[in-house]
């Protein structure tokens, strides 16, 4: 197993279970389970025991490893410099070793097989991959300034599709020249990499990079922070050298191009930072800059925000594999309760995975009707249309 030489260095002190301000548990897997084994330190010690032959790769062991949501709270909070930066690599290596040994939970196997066979986990045939864009007058990419990259959840999840439409519309409204790959888009591989399936990831990365090159793509806007992470941070190792932006970064720059909203009914909102935007990629300002440009809208931060945000529990493939469960202690349900505690009725985010996870949690928590979960782009469009 790669990185095995640092497993013993985890002291199991548990800083990594909490956010920087210590308000509550912030590792979604530990939060849901409450067994030490599901904490970042627990994983490190169990991996070491497995490597040393003291434990088998049982079903529970597999569940423990694959329920990590790759939210990066642990890498943010661990107090051991340098070592901390490798925690997610260790977990990915552990998962890779399990993949290699053929010891993965059925849901993970199904996910990986679907991506391998169909190019996406929803098993969407290429034609249905563009359902989200119907009627939008979005051209295929043909040398425009930007490629708009939708990703699996934007193309396959019903709520993700609604979000994708509004993001495309708001970017169009801001005059962004862009095209899409449409039916030629396949998974970007972010979750495959997180699940330790390095070969599948490399295959997807190489294939996508080749497509971008063929079409002359230089700059890419992603709908999802997960895609943003894959394209901007993981693809360079495979030769990808594109300028990659999350849509909020482009929108934040071009808010002044939108018909200036003159005002609107006062609205208090809270904002959920997606892990792959805030912690993995350090972007916490762009969404807030957009909000600041919407007259009448005030932001009430949750106790955990920015790099301290609690994950929605959907990362690391958990949106697809459901290994983290949907009970009252699931991260998404804890998170929507935290949102309502701010006293606002609108919870915003800017990631299709977070959107789908949190909206479904609001329903399970009987908050539908009291808490509306929506994407930032949806709010921007509403305020523009409502005011123009």
């Amino acid at each position: 197993m790669d990185h095995a030489e640092i497993l013993h260095r985890c002291f199991r002190c548990g800083y990594c279970k909490l956010p920087g301000n210590h308000v509550d548990l912030n590792c979604p897997a530990y939060l849901e389970s409450r067994f030490e084994t599901f904490s970042p330190g627990g994983r490190m010690w169990l991996l070491r025991a497995w490597r040393d032959g003291e434990l088998e790769a049982s079903e529970r062991f597999q569940r423990i490893l694959f329920s990590c949501a790759t939210c990066a709270n642990c890498t943010e909070q661990c107090v051991f410099p340098k070592f901390k930066d490798r925690l997610l690599d260790v977990f990915a290596a552990g998962k890779a070793a399990l993949v290699e040994a053929g010891r993965v939970p059925p849901a993970v196997r199904d996910y990986l097989t679907a991506v391998f066979d169909h190019g996406n986990p929803f098993k969407l045939p290429p034609k249905r991959r563009t359902l989200w864009a119907e009627g939008l007058d979005l051209p295929r990419f043909d040398g425009q300034a930007y490629l708009l990259w939708i990703g699996d959840v934007g193309a396959g999840d019903p709520r993700g599709r609604q979000m994708a439409r509004q993001v495309a519309r708001v970017l169009q409204r801001a005059g962004i020249q862009m095209g899409i790959l449409g039916p030629d888009e396949t998974s970007d591989g972010n979750e495959a990499a997180a699940l330790g399936e390095g070969e599948l990831f490399s295959h997807l990365a190489r294939q996508n990079i080749a497509r971008f090159r063929e079409r002359g793509v230089r700059r890419i806007i992603t709908l999802s922070p997960h895609g943003f992470n894959a394209l901007s941070r993981l693809y360079p190792a495979h030769g990808g050298d594109f300028a990659v932006f999350h849509y909020t970064q482009i929108l934040a720059r071009h808010m002044d191009r939108l018909a200036p909203p003159t005002g609107g009914p006062p609205l208090a909102v809270t904002f959920h930072d997606p892990c792959y935007l805030a912690r993995h990629n350090g972007e916490v300002q762009a969404p807030r800059r957009i909000l600041a440009r919407l007259p009448g809208v005030t932001l009430q931060e949750m106790d955990r925000s920015g790099k301290n945000a609690l994950c929605c529990g959907g990362g690391g493939g958990n949106y697809f594999t459901h290994l983290l469960g949907e009970g009252p202690d699931s991260a998404a349900r804890v998170r929507v309760r935290e949102a309502t505690a701010t006293g606002t009725a609108v919870m915003l985010t800017c990631c299709p995975t977070c959107l789908a996870m949190l909206e479904s949690a609001a329903v399970s928590q009987n908050l539908d009707g009291r808490l509306r979960v929506c994407d930032l782009a949806e709010l921007v469009m509403e305020r523009l249309d409502g005011c123009s």
């Binding site: 199991r12 002190c13 308000v23 067994f35 010690w45 169990l46 009970g327």
Partner: protein, 466 residues
């Protein structure tokens, strides 16, 4: 030792109490809960249970009593000396699901919390909801529980002003080993959890007993004013023999909330020096300066004689030394890139400072162990918690054994000097008992038999009758 079928039945009964999700007899939990971060050998439980309420704890205890299965109460398991290992198997009761702040009384300045509430979460809760109040934080990682820390006589950032954390305990709710729920302190009589006085003080039945006398489910601890202005100074001397006098002078002024000495061979600029960190606060800058001047005046003789003095502290360093909790001791585990350390925390009279310092250096250097020494002053020089921290490489058995040897020798020598190891490992408990007044030891045994007739509570610890 029960047979497999009986154990399976107990697991099912536990699941009926706490829910399927909150009990496990899987190999993974047995492995992890059987060991802590220190040097004690593993001792796995048969199962782990995570109760969420006092009623659930009570049902778990009744079941364990009926079945004569050992129970090991556990908070964060950060004590380092192996006290939450299941020395006779049985059930580890991980209490961290019980982490609610039940009530805060702003006027009488106390908080009632469930025992599994973490230090970090209480600190954050108070900052948000009661910003003028704080509790005394240990330097343990923030997941350490209030219950685990108070019950072992922990100490922290207000201990120079107010003593051990057990001195800050107003009362508690405990599930006795036979399953009854008892309330100790004013809460036994009143709805308020304001003090242990004036009742016969039964809290002592649960303090320092390493979970052998019951499972505490709630505690009330004292809160203190949070100063808006805070400062730190570091007094440095070369001769350890002068430190008791220095500490005596500094504590006589009675302005410090925390006073902690530290001595470390690395970094090089710190080697060979005795540093005393003094932390104090004030409601205004003037108050802060006034207190600083009092502290300076207290040790003026040393400064004038040029035998000791205050270290210049630029603002970033000050910030680092006033950060709470301080993660510095945690990072000591990584000095050898080895992921481990354990310390003997010896409760000693301050008179023994120099002897303790020499002991630590001698033991560590003779055995080639990386070390860090220090002492937190408890009260106005009333005693100190002198710590001898030894790092080890978890991946190297010989290195772990070296550190273990150093800890054992230190425990022995501390007792010989007249100190008492705190939160002592099971073997060190025996060393303390061997030295203990026989009548006291017999009283402990009698009390234990009375409260825990079936001997199910954390067996292997404080075994007076061995």
């Amino acid at each position: 030792m029960k047979d497999h079928g009986a154990m399976q039945r107990i697991v099912r009964e536990l699941a009926a109490i706490v829910g399927d999700r909150h009990v496990s007899d899987a190999a993974e939990e047995r492995y992890l809960y059987g060991r802590d971060m220190g040097t004690m050998p593993p001792a796995p439980p048969d199962m782990v249970v995570l109760p969420g309420t006092t009623a659930e704890v009570q049902a778990v205890v009744r079941l364990a009593n009926r079945e004569r299965v050992p129970l090991v109460p556990m908070g964060a398991g950060l004590v380092l000396s192996g006290l939450t290992r299941a020395l006779a198997g049985g059930i580890v009761v991980d209490l961290k699901r019980m982490n609610r702040v039940v009530a805060v009384n702003d006027v009488s300045r106390y908080a009632v919390v469930e025992a599994g509430t973490s230090q970090g979460m209480l600190q954050a809760y108070l900052k948000k909801h009661h910003p003028t109040l704080k509790h005394s934080l240990p330097d343990a990682p923030p997941m350490a529980t209030i219950g685990g820390n108070v019950l072992i006589h922990g100490s922290g950032h207000m201990s120079c002003a107010y003593g051990f954390h057990s001195d800050m305990l107003n009362g508690l709710e405990v599930v006795l080993p036979t399953g009854e729920v008892a309330r100790i302190g004013s809460c036994a009589v009143s709805d308020y959890w304001f003090a242990r006085a004036p009742l016969p003080d039964l809290a002592g039945l649960f303090l320092g007993w390493a979970g052998t006398t019951g499972i505490v489910t709630r505690l009330a601890i004292k809160l203190f004013p949070r100063y808006p202005f805070n400062d730190v100074a570091i007094f440095v001397a070369d001769d350890p023999a002068v430190i008791p006098d220095v500490l005596g002078r500094l504590t006589a002024v009675q302005v410090a909330e925390d006073m902690t000495a530290w001595m470390t061979p690395k970094p090089a600029w710190a080697a060979g020096h005795q540093h005393v960190n003094i932390c104090w606060g004030g409601h205004s800058r003037e108050e802060l300066i006034c207190k600083r001047d009092l502290l300076r005046a207290a040790v003026r003789d040393y400064i004038q004689a040029r035998t000791a003095g205050f270290m210049p502290l630029p603002p970033p360093l000050k910030k680092r030394f006033t950060r709470l909790p301080d993660s510095q001791l945690t990072t000591f585990a990584d000095v050898r890139k080895g992921g481990g350390f354990e310390y003997v925390g010896a409760i000693m009279p301050v008179d023994l400072f120099a002897a303790a310092y020499r002991l630590g250096v001698r033991v560590a250097e003779a055995r080639g162990v990386a070390y860090s020494l220090g002492a937190r002053i408890i009260g106005a020089n009333h005693c100190m918690m002198f710590f001898f921290a030894y790092a080890f490489n978890r991946a190297d058995d010989a290195d772990v054994a070296r550190a273990q040897g150093a800890l054992e020798e230190t425990n022995r020598e501390v007792i010989a000097l007249g100190g008492i190891p705190w939160k002592a490992e099971a073997p060190a408990q025996q060393a303390i008992l061997a030295r203990m007044d026989p009548s006291t030891r017999e009283l402990m045994a009698r009390l234990r038999r009375a409260v825990d007739p079936n001997g199910i509570m954390n067996p292997g610890n404080w075994e007076t009758e061995r």
